[in-house]
């Protein structure tokens, strides 16, 4: 078997090239092998020891293969090796061959010790199993398994853990405010995840806002920021799609050189090889995720918003209003196929010409794979003691093409929603609370529906989208049926503090919300049970008390979901 010294010589790229983690692991495994199974005493080994030696050799072989795989890329059916690691690659190939030779010797030895001869020994070493992995091998395997697809995938467990069940929703918001009397500047961060049906959706928003107090009861603000959100079947797919979206943003921007993108997405490789590896990774994401799931998508963009907060009654009642405009890009299977013909195909440069598979060209950006979109969200919220709620309206337009160099957009999103939530001491949560919440929520939703319908009837142009139909009234009646559900039916959904396992001091909320998607003619009503924990720190500035730091972590589970697309209610 190859010695550690021979391995080092065979794989060294010179003084200025550091050893890889795989090399270090192989050294450890080789040392261990030579100590455990010295060649001079191999003939004295029992059959079981020979079998064990085969497994240790398999670990060394697999480690070498992990390195080899990580330093090559498949382009158009041809495997290309990292040109900057030619000698090391040759040394790894040599090691693999040495391992396989030694494994066959050990197989002969095992057979000889069992039967007294070598004839008929199992020489097939193509699928050797390792019954108990060494720590060193486990660690290096985890490293390469993660890097092979994307380190981002490792973060997927955070999402899966935050929203393990269908209907779960989690969010964390952080706000740092610098008071500059009479104004303020805030840094905002929000991460949220939600599992609905077979898919999980997660998003990150980062922004900055500023504003000023108007008198002692109102606060006006303006903010800008960026967002990144993705939807897929697993948390790992979601995080990898986010990574993919960032990669696409970089490749489509003249501001980001490939010296940054290639190492980040090319497994640490630079130059043409790194560029190709990153490109192959991105095309692999398209095949693995978009190719297998028509509903997978990733969006990124920027937003601007105007906000207003009014304190109607100190520490009791407040109102909030927000108008938010978004501009972004959504990538999904359809957008990729429209942009370059098929999933996983070679990307085009911004002029529309297909790129070479051999390496990127400095200074040339890639054509977009997404659909540009514009959005407008308006919301009004209130808090009154333990009650909170509000209404929202969302409008969206997607780009359909270019006319005389100017983009044309199609109106494709129109959704309204309403929510009413009660925060109560957890041991008081019972059917009585539900009895009070449901009629009020139903009333709020139907009020919005009636107002929208009347507005649409008055405005002929608003009906031309085909979104608002005469059936809206029957949806309102269907919503009203919620109040006809006997209170006994709701009892199982009332919180049970013992089984909920909530910490003392946690805020428990019961929220009933409804939404109507005018484009899909779909109505959905959800009842959620949630808990949230908030941490904040306030200082006195300019005579006012200002919250300079606030973290809010919320989690909620869906107790039930009713949806109606015109064919009756469906309970989830």
């Amino acid at each position: 078997m190859m010695s550690t010294v021979a391995f080092d010589e065979a794989t060294s790229e010179g003084w200025f090239t550091a050893s890889s983690k795989a090399q270090k692991t192989i050294r450890t495994l080789l040392d261990s092998y030579h100590i455990s199974y010295p060649w001079e005493s191999q003939l004295k080994m029992a059959a079981a020891e020979a079998a064990s030696a085969v497994e240790r050799l398999e670990e060394i072989r697999r480690t070498a293969r992990l390195w080899i795989t990580d330093h090559e890329v498949l382009v158009s059916g041809t495997t290309k090796a990292d040109p900057k690691r030619v000698k090391r690659r040759a040394g790894m190939d040599l090691l693999v061959g040495a391992c396989e030779g030694e494994m066959r010797v050990m197989r002969d030895l095992e057979h000889f010790k069992s039967t007294g001869g070598v004839k008929g020994a199992d020489q097939d070493i193509s699928a050797v199993t390792v019954s108990q992995e060494s720590d060193a091998f486990t660690k290096i395997k985890q490293k390469y398994t993660g890097d092979a697809v994307s380190g981002f995938r490792k973060l997927g467990f955070l999402i899966d853990g935050a929203v393990p069940m269908d209907g779960d929703k989690s969010s964390i918001t952080m706000e740092i405010t610098v008071p500059i009397p009479p104004g303020f500047i805030s840094l905002e961060f929000e991460a949220e995840a939600q599992r609905d049906g077979e898919r999980v959706k997660a998003g990150i928003t980062v922004g900055v806002s500023g504003g000023a107090s108007v008198g002692s009861i109102a606060k006006l603000g303006v903010g800008i920021g960026c967002y990144l959100s993705a939807k897929a079947k697993t948390g790992a797919d979601v995080t990898e799609l986010m990574s993919y979206a960032l990669y696409r943003r970089c490749q489509e921007s003249v501001l980001v050189p490939r010296e940054i993108t290639s190492p980040l997405w090319g497994g640490g490789r630079s130059g043409d090889f790194g560029w190709v590896k990153a490109e192959e990774w991105s095309k692999g994401v398209e095949t693995r995720i978009f190719g297998a799931d028509d509903g997978a998508e990733v969006s990124s963009g920027v937003y601007g918003k105007l906000t207003a907060e009014v304190e109607v009654s100190k520490d009791l009642a407040s109102l909030g209003f927000e108008v938010k405009g978004t501009k972004g890009t959504k990538i999904d299977k359809q957008s990729i196929e429209k942009a370059k013909g098929r999933i996983g195909a070679t990307n085009n440069i911004s002029s529309g010409v297909a790129m070479s598979d051999g390496g990127g060209v400095r200074g040339i950006t890639q054509a977009s794979l997404g659909v540009k979109n514009l959005g407008l969200e308006t919301s009004a919220k209130f808090e009154f003691g333990i009650l909170s709620g509000g209404i929202t309206a969302e409008f969206g337009w997607s780009q359909t093409g270019l006319v005389a160099g100017k983009p044309t957009y199609e109106f494709d999103t129109f959704e309204i929603g309403a929510a009413l939530a009660g925060r109560m001491p957890m041991n008081k949560m019972a059917g009585d609370a539900i009895a009070a919440l449901i009629p009020n929520l139903v009333g709020t939703i139907n009020k919005v529906i009636r107002g929208s319908t009347q507005a649409a009837q008055a405005e002929t142009a608003a009906r031309s989208g085909g979104a608002i139909t005469a059936e809206v009234g029957s949806y309102a009646a269907a919503i009203a049926e919620l109040a006809s559900v006997p209170k006994q039916t709701w009892q199982p959904f009332a919180a049970d503090p013992a089984s909920a396992g909530l910490d003392v001091g946690s805020t428990v909320s019961l929220e009933l919300s409804g939404s109507f998607d005018f484009m899909k003619n779909e109505l959905a009503v959800e009842l959620r049970l949630g808990k949230s924990s908030a941490l904040s720190n306030a200082v006195k500035a300019g005579g006012d008390v200002v919250q300079v730091f606030k973290v809010d972590i919320s989690q909620s589970s869906r107790l039930l979901k009713l949806s109606n697309t015109g064919g009756g209610w469906k309970l989830t």
Binding site: P439, N440, A476, A477
Partner: protein, 150 residues
């Protein structure tokens, strides 16, 4: 035989229960019974009417309403009829006494067991006409015809 309840027992307050558990407070102005036709005339406050209207209590479905509106700026009067299939649970003609004696969660006091036939509010008259009588505006529903054929 149609029987009106004596004025001495009315108006009377009577709560109805929404199946989900909340209640609707009403003031019963009049009741009458003719066989299986049990009708009550109730008055509700402006706040109660808003929920009755939006959540469609007493089967006041939007698509069952004939043309006409109520502003809801004052008290609203609702004429409503009990589901005829439940009428035999009320013995005699004293409807208000029978209903009041029932527990709130009884089916006869559920908002789903009653069908709104007519919803009106008083129209404010000029002073010179105020003593001439009362004018009401509102709407009727299609339930009257449908219940009659059941």
């Amino acid at each position: 035989m149609e029987a009106d309840v004596t004025a001495s027992t009315l108006p009377a307050t009577l709560d109805f229960q929404v199946p989900v558990g909340s209640t609707v407070a009403t003031r019963v102005l009049q009741t009458r019974r003719d066989g299986d036709d049990v009708v009550v005339v109730v008055e509700v406050s402006q706040e109660e009417w808003e929920l009755i209207d939006l959540v469609m209590y007493f089967n006041l479905l939007w698509d069952r309403r004939n043309p006409g509106t109520v502003s809801g700026t004052g008290a609203v009067q609702i004429v409503m009829q009990l589901d005829p299939s439940l009428a035999d649970r009320i013995e005699g003609d004293d409807v208000i006494t029978a209903l009041s004696a029932l527990p709130l969660d009884d089916q006869l006091r559920s908002t789903t067991s009653w069908y709104g036939l007519e919803v009106t509010e008083a129209v404010e008259l000029p002073p010179e006409l105020a003593d001439k009588g009362e004018v009401r505006q509102g709407f009727t529903t299609t339930w009257a015809d449908e219940l009659a054929t059941r």
